[in-house]
Symmetry: C2
Subunit: 143 residues, 2 copies
């Protein structure tokens, strides 16, 4: 499994993008940065806040996540199932694999697929701006 150095969340991160350093924003940043689950829905974050005794509204969670996304602090994904999931953007692009039995999310990188995508877009006269690749998988059956 790929390893990435943990990065402590600082108030600098917020100021840098022109957002006031408020309690809700710090708590949410904290949760996203230290969660066992890297990919969380707004409700996931909200639930953790409640567990921690923080009195922060769900609407605020959504607002903050949107601001973070606009600021490039988090990335938002739309996997199957309605809710958006957010993850801290720690650089390093990757795609996702979702287990349809356990819901587990696995990240992976594949340079070959990346460049093939660029080639394909180009072949049609376009520039690749962004992409979304999600593999829906199930555990290989032992036999």
């Amino acid at each position: 499994m790929p390893h990435r150095a943990e990065r402590v969340v600082e108030s600098q991160d917020l100021r840098k993008v022109g957002l006031k350093v408020t309690h809700p924003r710090m708590r949410i940043l904290d949760i996203l940065g230290s969660a066992q689950k890297k990919h969380m829905t707004a409700e996931d974050v909200y639930r953790v806040l409640l567990e921690q005794g923080d009195d922060i509204g769900l609407a605020t969670v959504y607002r903050v996540l949107n601001q973070f996304e606009a600021a490039g602090i988090v990335v938002r994904h739309h996997f199957e199932g309605g809710q958006s999931v957010y993850e801290l953007d720690q650089g390093g692009h990757h795609d996702h694999m979702v287990c349809i039995e356990t819901g587990k999310v696995i990240e992976f990188q594949n340079a070959e697929i990346e460049s093939l995508q660029r080639e394909i877009a180009e072949k049609y006269g376009y520039e690749l701006e962004d992409h979304s690749l999600v593999l829906y998988v199930r555990p290989k059956k032992a036999r």
Copy 2:
């Protein structure tokens, strides 16, 4: 009773999957099969129905599209922007490229990407069940 046969097997298709041949289902199948836009939202279909003077409810459109999806007659996609888009499943798997300036949807196939995906899933001990790949592109600038 307006009756036009542009697609061959339409009513057969419905019976084949155990769905009664009703007016709403035929109209919707018709629209999906003859639309200039291959990828339509439920509202898109509903709007065309209204334009054609058909008195079919939006709820029915959703219900029928769901049944069609379950029956494998249509494929449902979740591009960015909330609404689901549906397209007739005419066999031949393909992925999509969406122009972020015009909204145009282009289909493409790439066997290499397909097999790479399978390999990746396998490498992690999974079986690839399904996938979603969407390229968000913009027209290459002329210079």
